[in-house]
Structures are given as structure tokens and as C-alpha cells.
Amino acid sequence: MQRKECVAMLLAGGEGRRLGALTEQIAKPAVHFGGKYRIIDFTLSNCTNSGIDAVGVLTQYQPLVLNSYIGIGSPWDLDRKEGGVSVLPPYMKSAGGDWYTGTANAIYQNIGFVEQFDPEYLLVISGDHIYKMDYDWMLQAHKENHADATIAVVEVPWEETSRFGIMRTDEAGRIIEFAEKPKNATSNLASMGVYMFTWSVLKDYLMKDAANPDSSNDFGKDIIPKLLKDHANLLAYRYEGYWKDVGTIHSLWEANMDLLQEMPSLNLNDHGWRIYSQNPNQPAHYIAPTAQLSNSLVNEGCEVAGCVDHSVLFYGVQVAEESHVIDSVIMPNVKIGRGAVIRRSIVGEGTIIGEGCQIGSVNGEITLIPGGKTIL
């Protein structure tokens, strides 16, 4: 196999339990986002746009949709002769086999995959996050500083620091302290779950970690604290821009609504950094004479005859006359009947909303209608 300077391992086994019915059948990275994407499109597109063409996708929870979605990787230009994208579920070995017990363990179990490319650096990323980032710049910073590990960090509001892994750095940007979900944070730099490792160093730590029965085999809980304890060269790489972990129904809704700002901080119309996805081959969408649209995203294959305000419509959605869709996310092939009113809701793929149905409320929690349902 041709040698690669940097290989990416994309963690896509997350169950996303807090996304409720949306992740009953699919893993979190396969959840729909932004009118035409699945969450994993962002990290896969980042890889290909950064020039990384060997990507291992680690799957575990409900991998069916994710596997067929990724396929041989052609939408992301990752159908390559050498490398490309490989889906890596847990597998049996001669001495038994195991589920991935943690993020670090998932990489540990696939050391063989990584070694095929004999890389100098390994990028570990998570398929749960929405952001646009050039990993090549991060790699350059990692190389220039002769770091053992570089962790991408983003400033978060101080009141939210208790939700993240928080890094404290010195003036040179070295990480001197790391705290997982601290109560009283000393910094507001949160880890984005994007790690660049020098492979020889990481491999060593993965082996030691696997031999330690007390370890939970997790990057945030075990590997990074151990590196810090050993005074390894840990660099923080500051990222400025949009980054979102869509862990809950509310944050998924919010991330979709973020795209509707007048100048969205996540620009999807940037031809220099396209986000790729599988294409369902639908015709252009049709806006009927009775329709009223404002502040919305509408994908191909939609037929809109009703009123759509501040909402995101995925492909193939039909909105009948006199219906209202407000502050909502409507996933693929949903049919909304005449006179129905949908507010502050996420409606799952293929659901049929009957005539005159009232869904959601003006304020309070976001209403989730699971996919494949018929609501009358």
C-alpha cells in the first residue's frame, strides 16, 4: 500500500441517545442536517478538502444506514485506488473479539488498518460534529511545533464550560491542564474532539492503555491525561469559526436554525469548501403561486404550496396549500396536508402529516415527530 503522511480515523459509533427517536434506527453521524446533509458529511468533506485521502470510519451502533450511505465514498471523492474510505466495524480475531470499549480502544483494535499506510501522523475526529476545518493547517502547526499531540480547541461561553473537556494553555499554546467537564473551569477553551497525533507516540500509548485493566480506553478520560502526566508535548490548536456538537434534539434544531441567520457563521455556499453528500437525483423544487416563503432553506424535489417561514426543508417534502411550517426542520419526503400547522418541530423522514393537524407549540420544548409515521 502506498505510504500516506496522515491517515484519518473518524469515530462514528456514537449512539446519540439524547436524540431520542431520531437515532432509534441510525447512528448519530447519519442523522439528517441542513436540508440535504447527514452530520458525517461535514467531517468527510473536511477530510477530502484538506487533502486527506485515507479515512477509516469506525462504526458500531446501528451501522446499516451509515454503511450504505458511505458506500465506497464516491460523493466525497474518497473512492481511491490506494486508501479512500474504509468502514471499520468491530471484528473477530483468532483470540476472540470485542466491541469497541472506548474511543481509544476503537483505534487500538484497528492498529493494523493504520499501519498499512505507514503514516507519520494520525488524525482522530468525531462524526458527530458540524464544522468546516482545514486539517492540513493543523498538521502544519503540529509539525512546526514538533508536538506529540495537537488538540483543536474552540472558545466556548464560560457558563457552558461544564459541558466540555477544558484545556488550559501557556503563552506558547502548550496544554498545561486538562479537565473533563469541570465545575469551576480555569479556561474556556474546549476540546473539539479533533486530535492530531504523531503516530509512533500514539501507538505506544494505545498499547499501554490496552494493557491497563483500569482504563476506560477513552481519549478524553485516559490517553490525553496520561500524555499530560508524562509531560508530552501537547499543543492546543485554536479554531475560530462555527463548531457544534448536536447532542440533543434542541441543539440539532438550533444548529439547523443557525443556517437561517442573515449571514450564517456556517457558510454552505462557499465554493472553495463544498460540503459533499449523496445525491438523491431529484428535480429542482417547485414553488406554487399560493406559496409564501421567507427565511428558509429548501432542497430539490420539494413542492411548496403553503406558507414556510424560518424553516429547513429536506428533499422531496410536500407542503400543501394553506398549511404553515414555522421554525421547523422537515426531513426528507415528508408530506404536509392542507391546513396543517407545524411550529418549532423536527419531523422525521417520510412522515405524513394529515390535513389540519396542529403540531408543536410557540414556545417551550422542540416537538419531535419520528420518521415513517402517519399523523391524522
Binding site: 460523493p75 442573515e262 416563503l293 429548501v298
Partner: protein, 371 residues
Amino acid sequence: MKRAMGVINLINEIDFLEVLSRNRCVAAVPFGGRYRLIDFILSGMVNSGMSKVAVFTHAKYRALLDHLGSGKEWDLDRKRGGLFVLPPNTEEHDEKAKGDLYQFYCQRDYFHRSKQDVVVITRSHMVCNIDLEPAIQAHLDGDADITMVYKRTADETLSRNRRIRMDEAGRVVEMQDHNGRLVSDNVSMEIFIMTKAFLLDLVETSLAQGYDHFFRDAIMKNMDRLKIASYEYTGYLGIINTIQSYYHHSMNLLIPEVRRELFYKNGLIYTKIKDEPPARYLDGSSVQNALIANGCVVEGSVENCILFRGVKIRAGAVVRNSIILQNSEIYTGVSITNAILDKDVKVLEGKVLQGDPTAPFLAVKRSIIGQ
């Protein structure tokens, strides 16, 4: 139909598309918000189970080659068969001027080497969603030399087309070009089905007699001797080879039944993917009766329009009864009525463009209007 191979014949295709075909062949003319004309017949072939298609190109084919690529979007990037683009043979200076029969002859090895024994020859400018399988089956079940596909329509007065007349048994007994006197609602779709052996024989015989045009020479001149059967297509048809028919059939896409027929009925229409995000409608936009592709950003007012991928309509602009091709940008305060703007056109602040439905305002690719 695995027995059949497709030939999309772009040689000497009738072209009155003016600016739209100035730098591209008819097959590559954008249509319907995100397609090019060739997508319709090509997808029809693929959806009819054909896995080997040759495109005989002739001139101005750069955009076409870019569009077709390896044939992947049509599932034609195959190890065996798949898409073949065959440029004209020009070993000698005047060979390009020779007709399609000569080019078929030059590629006779391609036909010989194919394991398929039936050939479906089409043009690229017939916008339809056709299932070719029953037509091929009808040809195989009958005893005709050639089966040609036609449509009964009174709606093709704006395009250049051929009318045909059949006897009671459905045998084609008369064919005339658009300037002929034949009064008939039967319009030829320029789709011809025949066995490969028959085609190769027809090619060699005609060339030997000094003829090199497939339709005019090999078929029309031999009408008495050939047995030509007819097969009726009943779906939507748009013959796109004049600006008037282009405009007319584009506007027809705003009718729901036409979209259902054309985009979904016998399978989807495939095209090159551009990875544009969903269209954005900003506050203050007003859109009525419009077909809008991904990547568009609409802030102004749009009525009875087709917007291709990546078109931007800024606040205060008003666009009516128009077709705006890919990545064009309409600035504030502009008013456009009855126009066709080619790709990457910019219409600057305050400009007023006014065409007529029978003679739409036309703008050349990459032009900047209002400077």
C-alpha cells in the same frame, strides 16, 4: 433490455438555439434548472435497462465531455460496456463534413465488438421520459426492418421536426421535414430501432452508393423498399431546437403534470452533481410559480421562472417569465421580463430587460449587462 445498445447521434443535429448553442452542442444545452438536454434520453436508456451507450459527438463538445465524465451519474462507468464517447473521425481535412453514416462506418468495429444485437439510435434534443423496452420488444416481435418512435401532438409548432404518416397497419408511408406540406399530428422522435446487422448493412450499402446521411439518404430515400414500423410514445415530449420551443417547454415545467411525467414517470433523470446547498430564501423574498434549483439565493421577487443552480436574485430585483441559467446574478432594482440568461450573466443595478414570449431577451454566457 440487455440485448440493445444505445447510440445518441449528435452529428448534424438541427440547431436554432442561437446563443444557447454558441459554444456548446445541442446535447449540452442546459434545461430544466439542473439538466442538460442529453440527460433525458440518456437516463431513458439507462432506466430501460440498457448498459451500453455510445455518444457520437460532432462539434463544440467540450461542455458535453465535462458533463458526461466517466458516465458515473448514469451508472454507465462499467468495466464492460457503459458509456463510450466517440468523437468524429478526422484523419483527412474534409472528413468532418461527412454525414453520420460515414461516422457510423468509421466506428464499425465498435458495433461489431458489442455483444448486443439491437441498436437504438436517438438524438439528444428530445426531452422525454421514455421506457424504450416495450418499443424494442415491439420491434423484435414484428417483422419490420426499422421501428421508429413517434408522438401524436399538436403542440410542436415552435420546433423543427419531421411529420410522418402511417397506413392502417402502422407502417410508415410518408415522412416530411418541417417545411413540407404533410398535415399530420404524428411527430417523429428521431428514435430508430433496428438490429445491428441491419444497421451495418444499411451503412455499407448507402456509403457504397455515395450517400452519407442516415435519415435523409439511408431511410428517406429507401422508404419504398424498407419496412418501417411505428411505435407511439404517449408521455410528455418537448422538441428543443429553437429558442421558441426552448422557452415554451421550459415554461411548461411549471405545470405539475408535466413535471410528474418528465421527472418521475419511468424513472429519475440523472445529471452531473454540483454539490450545491439547498436554495436559500431570505426575508423579503417573494416567489410564485417557479422551479428553483439548489444553490440559489433569493432575496428579490421571482414569478413564473426557472432558476438554475447557484442563481442569485438580490433584494428589490423583479424577475418574471424568465429562465436564468447557472450562477447568474441579478442585482438590486433590476427588472427582467421574458428573458433567457445564459450561465454566469450579471445584470447590474437598476437595469430593465424586456423581451417577448415569442422572442425572449437573450444574454450570452458571462456577459455583464448594465456596464
